[in-house]
């Protein structure tokens, strides 16, 4: 972990993530400088995303394309029509997934919470396949409402079933419910795919998770959802700090845990549903970002959210840039790169931190 102090308070063990009343000076310095460094990293990632690709574009030309118009210049067309939308979409998706993961881990007190593990991606995928197979939708803009509905239904189902019984939504029950929903949805998806080859050929390119080939028009339709979801998430940070003490303590302090969970659920569905609708199911961003943020800041959710907000886009943009470079002139989809980069991070985290029991 970042500091010896962080090790003692077990940042990975979400169960005991009670915020220290006053951070010591060192922790405060780390937070401030860390956040500044993260913002610089984001700027670098944005510049790289605008400049690099099958055709590398020098920085002056990138700036020229952004701030002046020279009609017909092919470089400017590449920057304005391809790279700018792609970068904006990367920022939106990274932000949404990073925040959603943080919110999920905080609310469920589960270090493994992630849109992939809790079945949200699978729900979205199922309805997208149905959209293709039954309703003949083929354009990404047409998938959106289906992905949205699927994500919402899966989240509600997983949480509803996980919360049954007297002991409520324990992390183990949520994880098992998510796994079960994922398995069922995946089976139906596979059934539809192997019986209908045209559906497969449309679906297989959506399901890897990619930022390419989406226009700004998707963002102009969907940004309000991300904005509302993000705002809601940020309003809940104080409540998450209280929830970290456990439901009983939170209730004793006059806090309405059920309301927090419900609002968090709405926010997660807005964020994950939109991100999945835009880019396809991308795993690991929601899992890894909160862990990295927590490793830097310690257990205070106000800081974890601030870092997630910046680091989510950094991860997605850098993964996308990497995917454009490694197999140039072809490219790897961002979902694949994130998985390849995220898995070692997750494994390193699991090895270093004693994770609170699931």
């Amino acid at each position: 972990m970042a500091t010896a102090g962080a090790k003692a308070t077990e940042p990975g063990a979400v169960t005991d993530a009670a915020p220290a009343p006053r951070a010591d000076g060192r922790r405060r310095r780390i937070r401030a400088w860390g956040l500044a460094a993260s913002v610089v990293l984001l700027v670098v990632a944005v510049v790289l995303s605008l400049a690099l690709g099958t055709r590398a574009i020098p920085l002056p030309d990138v700036l020229a394309a952004l701030f002046t118009t020279a009609p017909g210049d092919p470089l400017q067309v590449i920057v304005r029509d391809l790279r700018v939308p792609r970068t904006l979409i990367g920022i939106a998706v990274g932000l949404a997934l990073g925040l959603a993961g943080t919110l999920m881990q905080g609310v469920t007190r589960n270090p493994l919470a992630d849109p992939g593990i809790l079945g949200v991606n699978a729900g979205a995928s199922l309805l997208v396949v149905i959209a293709i197979a039954v309703f003949g939708v083929t354009a990404p803009l047409g998938f959106i409402w289906f992905a949205f509905a699927g994500a919402a239904a899966a989240a509600a189902l997983v949480y509803g079933i996980g919360a049954l019984g007297r002991d409520g939504a324990t992390p183990v029950k949520l994880a098992i419910a998510g796994t079960a929903i994922t398995a069922a949805a995946t089976s139906v998806v596979t059934l539809l795919l192997i019986t209908d080859i045209e559906t497969l050929s449309a679906y297989r390119f959506w399901q890897v998770g990619s930022l390419a080939g989406r226009g700004v028009d998707i963002l102009t339709v969907l940004w309000p959802f991300i904005a509302v979801g993000a705002l809601l998430a940020l309003l809940l940070t104080r409540d998450l700090n209280l929830l970290a003490f456990g439901d009983d303590v939170a209730r004793g302090l006059g806090h309405n845990a059920a309301l927090t969970r419900a609002l968090a659920g709405v926010s997660v569905v807005l964020l994950c549903g939109t991100a999945t609708a835009i880019a396809g199911p991308i795993v690991f961003v929601g899992l890894v970002i909160p862990h990295i943020a927590r490793a830097i800041t310690g257990p205070d959710y106000r800081w974890i959210f601030a870092f997630s907000l910046v680091l989510g886009p950094v991860l997605v943009l850098l993964a996308d840039v990497l995917g454009r470079l490694v197999v140039a002139p072809s490219e790897l989809e961002v979902g694949l790169v994130v998985a390849a980069v995220g898995a070692p991070v997750m494994i390193a985290l699991v090895r270093r931190v004693r994770l609170g029991s699931l």
């Binding site: 079933i161 019984g165 098992i176 419910a177 079960a180 089976s187 050929s201 997750m346 699991v350 994770l355």
Partner: protein
């Protein structure tokens, strides 16, 4: 359950033990009868139904050539494969879940089946292989992922949670890799690869079954040898150690057996989703008493696979649905039901 509890309060320990043992025997007999019924149904029904008298005549070698072909070349190979891999998945799941003390620890969730799937998707879509080489690739994929998880999670002994979490990481990567592989190459081949990845009993051959049977016979024997030590491990590491068990070595042995069971079954039938995951909890539910129930788990596994294959054969007109899809669709709601009805304090499935 409530009658058993009250009996336990009144009866002396010896009687209770006898009661539990009796229940285990009764359960095993009932499950065996159920399995026999499923096998009979699978033998007799299908696109070409065989009436009981024709079935017996054909089995005795006095049927028509067509009936003999349907029975001996089409149905029996699949059924035998289903029995073998179902039992293997059931036992593997029970071993994993008991050893790692975690209901999520089943090969399909911790990425071991995923490793096999990636290897076979790579084999089909990139290398263009089939048959025995494909099985070998799939086997290797499962073993490599299991070894990687074990190495990465070993830090002063195999810890259950670390193993499962790292396994879940591998499962994610496997999923992404399969997604990537299906976007490359011809869509028809991608469809074939999906069928293989899901897993089922289609295309079973006697020669393959012989290999599976020999490998599994060895592994089942090994399981029977190590099972008593696993029961002692269930008492807790310290207690087991004081009973003279070498805890870490025993763990490793059991893990290797469980991985090998999964890898062999997956190599020939594919990772039939959820069978390893649900068989042991179902068996434990039926037997009761929180015991490690390997034979009931194996029986439940075989029943689940064969029933899934039967249902899949009749689900859609014209096309056989792989058993792996049916187990996923049926298994998940069952698991959710277990979750919703589990009593507080009792072990979660």
């Amino acid at each position: 359950m409530s009658t058993a509890t009250s009996a336990r309060q009144q009866a002396p320990v010896g009687q209770v033990r006898a009661g539990i043992a009796r229940r285990a025997v009764v359960t095993t007999v009932v499950l065996s009868l159920l399995l026999a019924a499923v096998v009979t149904t699978a033998v007799a029904t299908g696109a070409y139904p065989l009436s009981p008298d024709r079935l017996i005549l054909t089995l005795l070698g006095q049927g028509e050539a067509r009936e003999a072909f349907v029975l001996f070349r089409l149905r029996l190979p699949s059924i035998v494969l289903g029995l073998l891999v179902g039992a293997a998945f059931g036992i593997a799941g029970a071993l994993f879940q008991t050893l790692l003390r975690n209901p999520l620890a089943s090969p399909d969730i911790i990425g071991i089946s995923g490793g096999a799937s990636v290897a076979s998707a790579f084999g089909i879509l990139i290398l263009g292989v089939s048959g025995a080489i494909l099985s070998l690739l799939s086997f290797a994929g499962a073993i490599v992922v299991a070894a990687a998880i074990a190495l990465l999670s070993a830090r002063g002994g195999i810890s259950g949670y670390r193993f499962v979490l790292i396994g879940v990481g591998f499962a994610f990567v496997a999923q992404a890799a399969i997604g990537y592989l299906t976007t490359r190459g011809d869509v028809r081949e991608a469809s074939q690869a999906l069928v293989w990845i899901v897993g089922g009993l289609g295309g079973a051959e006697w020669e393959d079954n012989l290999v599976v049977a020999l490998a599994l016979a060895a592994l089942f024997t090994l399981t029977a040898v190590v099972a008593p030590r696993l029961r002692m491990l269930q008492l807790g590491d310290d207690t087991a150690a004081s009973l003279g068990i070498r805890v870490e070595r025993t763990r490793l042995t059991i893990l290797v057996v469980a991985v090998a069971l999964t890898a062999v079954a997956t190599a020939y039938a594919g990772p039939v989703a959820f069978v390893a995951f649900v068989s042991a909890p179902i068996a434990r539910r039926i037997v009761g008493g929180g015991r490690l129930s390997l034979i009931p788990s194996a029986l439940v596994g075989a029943i689940v696979v064969l029933v899934a294959d039967l249902v899949g054969g009749n689900l859609l007109p014209g096309a056989a649905v792989p058993a792996g899809i049916v187990t996923g669709i049926i298994g998940a709601p069952y698991l959710l039901w277990l979750l919703a009805t589990a009593d507080r304090g009792r072990q979660t499935p």
